[in-house]
């Protein structure tokens, strides 16, 4: 592992010298600037944008499933907190949520680093939006499926895991993919709480060179590429799931 990392670093080091950011200056020609900025931005993407997206999405989905089940229960003790949570998250800007977690909590003595702050804010955000998707997809499974599961003796959790969720998943993949792709783009907001992700890199370089158009378009192209690749993955998953269930 260590060996692998070292050789990768050496290889990349030759291609992209370590102090690259400092070598980028305003005198560079357009193409040269574009090329030299590419790697720092991609590095921001690989080190922060992508992990931030994946980690937040997975934690967010877990929250979402829990909240969806709470909302579907018939106990007020569960439904009311779930509704308040969803309503509060959906009713406030993501940037404000991010600031509350990072600056707000820091202000009252609970200092959290930028990256984990971003993970908390994005997970809570995804949790609320995805819970609505999951709830709707569970409700879209015909009632007869629950009943058939019950008549063969399944408990609530067995029916949920084995019968309902696999069918709900098929329905929820397209909207959840949208949530995921939105999340990729939303992580650019983390630049405002000092996470050195893709867009923050673009800002840093732009601050040195004043080539705003070139650098921000370059950042846009990178986001677009990531989202385009993701949409291909989404199509594949949908095709796979479509094989057996035709409605």
């Amino acid at each position: 592992m260590e060996h692998w990392r070292k050789s990768l670093r050496n290889g990349l080091g030759k291609m992209f010298p370590n102090n690259l950011l400092l070598t980028i200056t305003g005198d560079m020609g357009g193409w040269e600037l574009f090329k030299n900025s590419l790697w720092p931005m991609m590095l921001g993407g690989i080190k922060y944008t992508i992990p931030l997206t994946f980690i937040s999405f997975i934690i967010g989905l877990t929250i979402a499933l829990l909240v969806a089940l709470m909302r579907l229960s018939n106990q007020k003790i569960l439904t009311i907190p779930a509704r308040i949570y969803v309503s509060a998250i959906r009713g406030t800007p993501l940037l404000v949520q991010l600031y509350i977690v990072f600056f707000g909590l820091g202000d009252i003595g609970l200092t959290i680093d930028p990256f984990p702050s971003a993970v908390i804010a994005f997970s809570l955000n995804v949790g609320a939006y995805a819970s609505e998707i999951i709830r709707a997809s569970i409700l879209s499974v015909p009632k007869g499926q629950w009943e058939a599961a019950q008549t063969i003796g399944m408990s609530y959790s067995q029916a949920l895991r084995r019968i309902i969720l696999p069918q709900a998943t098929r329905v929820s993949i397209p909207p959840l993919s949208n949530t995921f792709i939105s999340l990729v783009k939303d992580t650019s907001l983390a630049s405002l709480i000092l996470v050195t992700e893709l867009f923050r890199k673009a800002q840093e370089i732009a601050a040195r060179t004043y080539d705003f158009m070139l650098l921000y378009v370059e950042a846009a192209l990178l986001y677009w590429t990531i989202c385009f690749l993701l949409s291909i993955v989404q199509d594949r998953i949908e095709n796979r799931l479509d094989r057996h269930v035709s409605r």
């Binding site: 009943e147 058939a148 008549t151 063969i152 399944m154 067995q158 696999p166 409605r247």
Partner: protein
């Protein structure tokens, strides 16, 4: 006597669907339930299976197991009640993401925790019994309605119930597919299964029933052997209902 039901009542809000039902099913007997739409036939079957929880009524089984719905009924009792009966739905309700075989093995493996090695041959024999030995690996959407319903029957049989419940098992089928499903039920009758069947197929009811039960407005109006209830009913309302089915 396999099961005796006394004073069964079920209401949905204000609507009293079952008002007072008394019913006995003998071991190995086949009870068919007929009656006009909305008379509560489906609700009765669903109560027997605890898909609906009755408001009142006492179920007593011959093995001594008793449920009194006027008291709070525990989860365990509900589970026990469900274990005793297998349900076949009008609209099949097969699991669309599982093959025919997986639909059948799901109950024994997941609920009863039996081993795969033991359950697969058992499930295959059930699918063979319903004439689907060559369709085991197909998904529900690849099967005709009659085939789907036969998988539904095999799935219900797989939990080894003591009582089989059928709610209009053929009324969602094209006429030419009705026969294959009725034949499977007749085979089960020959094997001595205890069954309660809601049906509009009077000829079939006449052939298989030990007891025919005519329901209307949440009451059992008349019950008895098919020769009586279907051919020579005592009650005027039964006669009218049968007339309407024969000469619509």
């Amino acid at each position: 006597m396999f099961l005796s039901v006394k004073g069964l009542a079920k209401a949905f809000g204000e609507l009293e669907v079952l008002k007072h039902i008394d019913l006995t099913i003998k071991k190995g007997n086949i009870v068919t339930i007929i009656g006009p739409s909305g008379s509560g036939k489906t609700t009765l079957l669903r109560c027997l299976n605890a898909l609906e929880i009755p408001n009142k009524g006492v179920f007593s089984f011959e093995d001594g197991f008793t449920v009194d719905f006027e008291q709070k009924v525990s989860k365990n009792k509900i589970a026990e009640l469900r274990r005793k009966s297998g349900m076949v739905f009008q609209a099949y309700h097969l699991f669309p993401h599982k093959t025919a075989l997986e639909n059948v093995t799901e109950g024994p493996i997941i609920v009863q925790k039996r081993t795969k090695q033991e359950v697969i041959p058992f499930a295959e024999s059930l699918l063979q019994k319903v004439g689907l030995e060559d369709k085991m690996d197909l998904y529900p959407h690849q099967l005709s309605g009659g085939q789907q319903q036969r998988v539904g029957i095999a799935r219900a049989l797989a939990i080894q119930p003591e009582l089989m419940l059928f709610d209009e098992p053929t009324s969602a089928l094209d006429p030419e597919l009705v026969g294959e499903v009725l034949k499977v039920i007749k085979d089960l009758a020959k094997e001595g299964w205890t069954m309660a069947i809601v049906t509009h197929e009077l000829k079939f009811a006449e052939q298989v029933s030990d007891i025919v039960l005519f329901m209307e407005n949440g009451y059992v109006v008349e019950q008895g052997p098919p020769e009586q209830v279907l051919k020579n009913p005592k009650e005027e309302r039964t006669r009218q209902f049968i007339q309407r089915i024969i000469n619509p």
